[in-house]
């Protein structure tokens, strides 16, 4: 009997380790031989812990499983109260276009055999047969844009580094996924770490970098462990080291752990942190592509950007490019979160409307109450009200409505949400996490909290002041922490003026 129980952090947080132990114990008690695989999550967080059992027809899903539900698994899986049917026939799975997350939840994350059975290493092998310039061209032609949030064309970044002179170049993977409502990087590192390793190795080949670093958050202990194990396995198998898959190319990598600073998700702050310094933001130019880690040419890319490279190299640029809409090519791994009925990871081509995502796919709120607002793009993204639910999910369409898609995290909030409180939190968070370099961010965020408290107390002069402050932060901050904090604040004020007026009206 082959049984899968995820080791993904969300599954573990909901009891997956206890379920796994219960399965092992029950099997031993009944004298039944089982193979237990700790896989990644399929991304249906509302069903975790999602247990799968192999059958001749495919993998059957059961969830959300608790230890008490385990004995019945051995009695008759057809009648199990938590039976869901074949995993891959579930509507959430069928509706997706899983290119980057194709293997996540399917494979044993630490089995290279499984990885290669599911098209792993095909991209790397092809890249080794091409010239570096050809690899760069393929990634450029795919239309892949940075999935961290900035949306900068990946191929152009790689071309810059490839063309830079110097004896040492680096690939730095930004795995400091600090935005609330985002967990795609984490899910991928835990569920399919070899994909990230393969993507980084291909990047190394393309630009002439021999060393890679994955900078990940300390808040992701399972992801850290999985990546370190996968790197060791990859080294032993000759995927990493002095001769990648037997070639003349050298590439190796290691994991570096952050220390609780949100701003270190900004690429230059991250580089400073990796150099052993305070995570202060650097001015650009110089671009990290030319002067990055240790002053050397460095590709800094998000986990999902790098993890999308193997499938691009395997299936070709045109295959990837043909998904999507407008200038937003390929797929996006949506992370639907907050007060949500069906929350989790949903990979799809660009172009679905926000409303389709929030109300149809995600089923609205967990409480069943109306959706008041959705924050798209993390803590520095705008709150969109239902009136903007027709906005297509692309970089350009969201920008046109004064929003951003960022790393594609979505926080659903129901009608009990106080938008003034959320605006205040945006300023408070900025104040806590500011690196301190820019006065508009360092001081402005503190004043922003105070000004919002004045709004709450009914001070009529506070709202124009808040607007003016937001303009200053937007124009005068070196990075997106201070620069984009105005997005959640001003969108809350613009779309939900009642939440900012009530105190004044009460005072009057």
């Amino acid at each position: 009997m082959k049984i899968w129980v995820p080791l993904d952090s969300a599954a573990v947080a909901l009891g997956a380790d206890d379920v796994a132990m219960a399965i092992t114990a029950e099997a031993a008690k009944r004298g039944v031989e089982i193979t237990l695989v700790r896989n990644g999550s399929r991304g249906m967080v509302w069903l975790e812990p999602l247990v799968e059992i192999a059958t001749d027809d495919g993998r059957l899903a059961f969830g959300p499983m608790e230890p008490e539900d385990v004995p019945a698994l051995f009695d008759g899986i057809d009648t199990h109260p938590k039976a869901l049917g074949l995993t891959e026939k579930l509507p959430w799975m069928v509706r997706q276009t899983r290119l980057t997350f194709a293997r996540c939840g399917v494979v044993d994350p630490l089995s290279l055999h499984d990885y290669e059975l599911h098209h792993g290493l095909k991209g790397l092998r092809r890249a080794l047969d091409m010239t570096p310039a050809e690899v760069v061209q393929e990634v450029t032609d795919s239309g892949l844009r940075g999935r961290g949030g900035a949306g900068f064309p990946t191929g152009i970044k790689w071309k810059t580094v490839a063309g830079a002179a110097g004896p040492q170049k680096y690939i730095v993977c930004n795995a400091d996924e600090g935005d609330s409502a985002t967990f795609a990087d984490r899910m991928l590192m835990e569920g399919d770490p070899f994909t990230l390793i393969e993507g980084m190795a291909i990047a190394g080949i393309a630009v002439g970098a021999t060393k890679g670093y994955i900078y990940t958050r300390s808040e992701y202990p399972i992801a850290i462990t999985q990546m370190e194990k996968a790197i060791k396995i990859a080294r032993v198998a000759g995927i990493l080291g002095q001769r990648v898959l037997g070639s003349d190319i050298a590439f190796d990598m290691e994991v570096r752990v952050g220390a609780g600073a949100y701003v270190c998700g900004e690429e230059t702050s991250l580089l400073n942190s990796m150099e052993g310094k305070r995570g202060v933001v650097r001015a650009k130019p110089p671009l990290p592509a030319l002067e990055g880690f240790m002053g050397k040419p460095t590709v800094v890319n998000n986990v999902i950007s790098l993890a999308s490279v193997p499938v691009i190299m395997d299936r070709g640029a045109a295959f990837y490019r043909n998904f999507g809409m407008g200038r937003s090519h390929g797929t996006m791994a949506l992370q639907i979160a907050g007060n949500v009925k069906y929350g989790g990871l949903f990979e799809t081509a660009f172009g679905l409307s926000l409303g389709e995502i929030v109300l149809d796919i995600a089923g609205g709120t967990a409480t069943g109450r109306p959706v008041k607002a959705v924050q798209v793009g993390g803590p520095l993204g705008a709150w969109f009200p239902p009136s903007l639910f027709d906005t297509p999910f692309t970089y350009e369409d969201f920008a046109a409505k004064d929003g951003l898609i960022g790393h594609a995290g979505l926080t659903l909030a129901d009608d009990r949400t106080d938008m003034l409180k959320m605006a205040r939190f945006a300023m408070e968070f900025c104040a806590i996490e500011s690196c301190g370099k820019c006065t508009p961010c360092r001081i402005g965020a503190v004043r922003g909290v105070e000004t919002l408290d004045r709004v709450a107390a009914g001070d009529p002069s506070a709202i124009p002041l808040l607007t003016d402050l937001c303009n200053t932060m937007k124009a005068g901050s070196l990075c997106a922490l201070g620069g984009f904090t105005p997005y959640p604040v001003m969108s809350a004020l613009t779309h939900f003026p009642d939440d900012f007026a009530t105190a004044r009206e009460a005072a009057e």
Binding site: S9, A10, V12, A13, L14, V45, W46, E48, E177, G178, D179, S180, A181, T182, F183, R186, S218, E219, Y220, P221, I222, R256, V257, G258, A259, G260, A261, Y262, S273, M274, E275, G276, K277, R278, G279, F293, M294, Q335, I336, A337, G338, N339, V340, G343, G344, A366, Q375, P379, G409, T411, L412, A413, D414, T417, M422, F425, F429, I432, E433, C435
Partner: protein, 159 residues
């Protein structure tokens, strides 16, 4: 309050082993500080000048780096470290009320430790459990869909 153990010669020895293990690493300071905190439960003030000398940086710089990052503690934590997520997705499912409950039960504010040294309460901004909040971490163990009853059980077990 938890007492800060004396650093002493054994502390210096442990620290030197950590420094040796990181020799030659590019940008070694954060891995070193993580190693020190793992070994001592905090970053002892006696350790910073030794680290600074080893890396050929100033004491001010070493202190500056250590104090920048939320993870590094100057003093040891309580026996149980309870981290509650304060970020937007968890707020959307009641994390604020949960935090108020915890602070009330413990009688401490954020970053505080109970007088008996049992529990330290820390805020965390995102554990990546955003579709199953409110999220928490108890001595490194992840908890999803935390509620007041669960927190009470955790605190009961932490006595």
């Amino acid at each position: 309050m938890p007492s800060t153990p004396a650093f002493g010669d054994s502390g210096v020895q442990t620290l030197r082993e950590i420094l040796d293990a990181h020799r030659g690493m590019e940008g070694a300071l954060l891995p070193i500080l993580h190693g020190v905190q793992a070994a001592f439960g905090h970053v002892p003030p006696e350790a910073l000048p030794i680290i600074a000398q080893d890396l050929n940086i100033s004491r001010a710089e070493a202190h500056g780096v250590m104090s920048f990052y939320h993870d590094f503690r100057e003093v040891p934590a309580g026996r149980t470290v309870l981290k509650l997520c304060r970020a937007e997705s968890c707020q959307a499912v009641g994390a604020d009320a949960l935090a108020d409950h915890a602070r009330d039960r413990l009688g401490v504010d954020w970053h505080g430790t109970t007088a008996d040294g049992a529990v330290t309460l820390e805020p965390v901004f995102c554990l990546g459990l955003c579709a199953c909040g409110p999220a928490a971490m108890v001595n490194g163990k992840l908890v999803g869909r935390a509620d007041a009853a669960r927190i009470d059980r955790i605190l009961e077990g932490a006595r």
